[in-house]
């Protein structure tokens, strides 16, 4: 029996049902690496880390308008009690605002001036479908060119257009994501690289690929694939492109991780904690990635919201504390910025099942990266035309103005053709 068969059998055993109910993390983090001893690292470029809050985060229980009695009247069961709110202090614009009880690290960040809270972010004619609104956020297109969800998904995404325009000639590693291939990173020449399985199944396939590439015919076949890249734009070519890119970028990623000097560590073993741990490792070792997309789901809190929402924000707070701590200790605090967003916020009034239904505008956070800390935009007024006809919050700041600010003032690139001129940049940096 040849080597290929042994490999196949080994793979086979490895993926056996009983043995893989939980796959151990093979990239073991050295949990005790003291942050203070980390060497200072000089960054080649700025890095953006996006945390996507999947399901529609309830903005009003995240940045809590405790100074507004309408909030308490609308939410008899699920409002965050004034005494439990972690209040922002020191700035006039922050009066009456604070964060959820679990979000203590956010008040620290606010104190030190590295947290921007952007109130009432959304867009004209808000859509309340998770999927369509998510596509709108990911596309970052001008309202005028948006169409049905299918049509939007046939366009490029805002980060994809940034890669196309400013990262031409680089590999697909400029974007790295968890979860399924994001519309946001889809450009004409880029689609981003998945890093979901770097921890759980390191390169099982590549061992197989290596075996196969030992056969001259297979190597030739691979070369033939690469030379045919992107011929006609049909579906087979799409798969062919992903195959060629996967081979290139996994090769690079493998080489990169083999030479890794700095290990992550001290990250909580939650879903987001593991993602940010891996991202920190890639950043600290000087990876080429400009934008990382991390993901946390479960925000569609139609019922019994309080406990679920608290758990989610605790997970984010703990992961972020570890992540920013690591970046600071490595001297990268100004070279890494974190942005959070969700496809929509939720309605002002709680529903009948101690939860909230789909709404519209909600706050966004931008952290680190030399951001001008503080509050952007007014606190939600919760009355009159600040409430949409179905009880969501009206938007005051367009989400594309946030994107544009990050692109122009932080990543320092020109945004014609990426974000429409209709949306002026905020001044976040």
């Amino acid at each position: 029996m040849n080597r290929k068969n042994e490999i196949a059998r080994r793979e086979f055993m490895k993926t056996g049902m009983l043995a893989s109910f939980s796959l151990p993390s093979l990239l073991s983090f050295s949990a005790n690496a003291a942050p203070a001893l980390l060497p200072r690292i000089s960054a080649k470029h700025k890095t953006l880390v996006i945390i996507q809050l999947d399901g529609g985060n309830d903005g009003l229980n995240t940045v809590v308008p405790w100074g507004n009695s309408r909030y308490y009247r609308a939410r008899r069961n699920i409002a965050i009690k004034e005494t439990d709110v972690l209040k922002f202090t020191g700035v006039k614009a922050a009066e009456g605002l604070g964060v959820h009880t679990e979000m203590d690290y956010f008040t620290e960040l606010f104190q030190e001036g590295s947290l921007a809270v952007i109130n009432n972010v959304g867009y004209e004619q808000p859509n309340r479908s998770h999927f369509k609104s998510g596509a709108i956020w990911e596309s970052g297109l001008d309202d005028a060119v948006l169409g049905s969800e299918d049509e939007i998904r046939n366009h490029t995404g805002w980060l994809g257009r940034y890669f196309d325009k400013h990262c031409a000639g680089e590999s697909n590693l400029v974007g790295a994501y968890y979860g399924s291939s994001p519309l946001a990173m889809r450009g004409n020449a880029f689609s981003g690289t998945s890093i979901s399985d770097l921890q759980s199944q390191p390169f099982g396939f590549m061992k197989l690929g290596e075996e196969m590439s030992m056969h001259p015919a297979f190597r030739k076949m691979q070369e033939a694939e690469k030379s045919q890249k992107g011929v006609s734009g049909n579906k087979v070519d799409f798969v062919r492109n992903v195959a060629a890119e996967t081979q290139t970028s996994t090769d690079q990623m493998r080489k990169f991780l083999a030479e890794v000097k700095e290990r992550g560590g001290g990250f909580p073993s939650t879903g987001l904690g593991k993602q940010l741990g891996m991202i920190s490792e890639l950043i600290m070792n000087g990876g080429d990635t400009r934008v990382y997309l991390a993901k946390i789901g479960g925000f569609d809190t139609h019922s019994n919201q309080a406990a679920k929402h608290a758990k989610l924000w605790k997970e984010i707070t703990d992961a972020l504390r570890a992540f920013m701590g690591r970046m600071k200790a490595s001297g990268l605090a100004n070279d890494v910025a974190v942005m959070t967003y969700s496809e929509f916020g939720r309605q002002l009034n709680e529903n009948g099942t101690k939860g909230t239904d789909h709404g519209a505008a909600a706050p966004m956070f931008v952290i680190g990266g030399g951001v001008k800390g503080g509050i952007f935009g007014k606190p939600p007024a919760l009355k009159g035309d600040k409430i949409t006809n179905y009880g969501g919050l009206s938007y005051e700041i367009d989400f594309r103005s946030v994107y544009k600010s990050i692109l122009e003032q932080y990543l320092k690139v020109e945004t014609t053709g990426i974000i429409s001129e209709k949306y002026p940049a905020l001044k976040l940096f």
Partner: protein, 464 residues
């Protein structure tokens, strides 16, 4: 591609068309089935398909519900220790195991003689969806799965009525949590957006009305029991208000189906699922939606038109759909000659390819098409191909044995058959040249195994 529903003529009908029909309307066909499908002709084949039967297969579809026996023992292995900190580990694993057992049973149905029936059931599972993760009852999921099987090619409107008051959906969409004061809008929104009218085609006040109208359903949960007859629905159905609720919901759904736009969403989803992910021509949608309404919502009537249309056999359609993970898995079993769904291969596929049966990621089911493929899932497909290669080796009537005997007789015609068997779309000349060179070098059955593994790791193999 024209926009009408002109039919393919008898003269135009080829073996290639037969193979395409079986891939899309079922989970592909064996050599004999394709031959039989070609011989009886398009009309007769579509007739069989719309009765849930696989043309050329002697075994009839099984129409009773899947009834898995769950293992009592919870598996343990040293690996599991590493994921510590989960307090209810046992609970978690028990559910994992139940879910996987359900998956295996359904996959076997897909592989057996009822391919077309099960493909339709899979369609409904993706559209009128519920997930095990939320429902957490194997019995409820089996009931819903069986409801899809009973209606299959039948009455869409009646199915929507039935599925909404079926326990899996009641739990999945929080219908039982809807209270008269401050109603929960979850189920009302999904009913309109995902099941009937589609996004943008309904006024917000309709959501509020539905949410107000259907309140106070009660569902008592109980641990799964075998057989499923023992699932306790008394809590819901014996409730004094239940009959009224049912009547009110039925009326509401009738009024939704009376809206002219209703039906178009289903046609779009059917087109996407069976034909092409490219944007559907609106005239064609209207045409088919009209037909659907006229037939009193009988899905078979629309599919009959689709499967016999020229458009379905267009060059932009044949071999141009990216296989879903389930299609990939079931088709690979057929192609390699494995009659029994392989547990390890299936477990790997369900975990890593992006489609876990009975457990869609959200209320829109799976987004399919290009989203099936990214670096991670493509690598996982290669791994699965390697697993299927090992599965093939263990079969008595394996594809590698069959093709080895063909190739040793004549490498050209043998290769021709091999490519036909394993490739979803036509190969480039470069690749055909390479394969021809490889075919000439085949000296043993093991060489054929390696050859097949190569073929399964091509972009073309990802298509159907």
């Amino acid at each position: 591609m024209s926009t009408d529903m002109e039919r393919l003529t008898k003269k135009e009908w080829t073996r290639q068309h037969a193979a395409h029909l079986l891939k899309r309307a079922s989970f592909s066909g064996s050599r004999q089935e394709i031959e039989e499908c070609f011989h009886i002709g398009l009309k007769a084949s579509v007739n069989l398909i719309l009765n849930g039967r696989q043309p050329g297969s002697s075994s009839a579809p099984v129409r009773k519900r899947i009834e898995p026996q769950f293992l009592e023992k919870i598996p343990t292995s040293p690996n599991e220790q590493s994921d510590s900190g989960r307090k209810n580990d046992t609970f978690f694993k028990r559910h994992q195991q139940k879910l996987f057992t359900l998956q295996l049973h359904w996959l076997q149905r897909m592989l057996d003689g009822g391919g077309p029936l099960e493909k339709m059931v899979l369609f409904w599972h993706g559209m009128l969806t519920s997930s095990y993760t939320k429902v957490q009852s194997a019995g409820f999921m089996v009931r819903q799965n069986q409801l899809f099987r009973e209606f299959a090619f039948g009455d869409y409107r009646e199915l929507v009525k039935r599925v909404l008051l079926d326990p899996a959906m009641v739990v999945y969409l929080d219908i039982d949590k809807n209270k008269r004061i401050n109603p929960n809008e979850n189920f009302a929104r999904e009913l309109l957006e995902m099941f009937t009218l589609g996004e943008g085609n309904y006024p917000s006040k309709l959501i509020k009305k539905i949410a107000r109208d259907i309140v106070g359903l009660k569902l008592r949960r109980r641990e799964d029991k075998l057989p499923y007859e023992e699932i306790d629905l008394k809590g819901m159905e014996a409730n004094s208000g239940f009959a009224d609720q049912k009547k009110r919901l039925s009326k509401l759904i009738d009024s939704i189906f009376d809206m002219p736009v209703c039906g178009e969403l289903l046609v779009r989803r059917l087109w996407k699922f069976y034909v092409s992910e490219d944007i559907v021509d609106e005239d064609r949608v209207k045409l088919l939606a009209h037909k659907l309404r006229k037939s009193e919502w009988k899905v078979a009537d629309v599919l009959e038109d689709i499967f016999q249309s020229k458009a379905f056999y267009d060059r932009s359609v044949m071999g141009q759909q990216i296989k879903s993970p389930v299609q990939f898995l079931v088709q690979a079993h057929k192609e390699t000659g494995a009659p029994i769904i392989h547990p390890q291969a299936s477990y790997y596929a369900m975990q890593n390819l992006g489609q876990s049966l009975f457990n869609p990621p959200n209320v829109s089911g799976w987004s399919a098409g290009m989203t099936w493929i990214n670096g991670t899932t493509l690598s996982a497909r290669y791994e699965l191909s390697s697993i299927m290669n090992s599965v093939m080796r263990a079969q008595d009537a394996s594809a590698s044995k069959h093709f080895y005997s063909l190739l040793s007789k004549n490498s050209d015609s043998g290769l021709d058959e091999l490519i036909k068997n394993f490739n979803g779309t036509s190969l480039s000349t470069e690749k055909t040249d390479l394969f021809t060179a490889m075919a000439k070098r085949v000296k043993s059955e093991e060489h054929v195994e390696i050859f097949i593994l190569y073929m399964m790791c091509t972009p073309e193999y990802q298509m159907c």
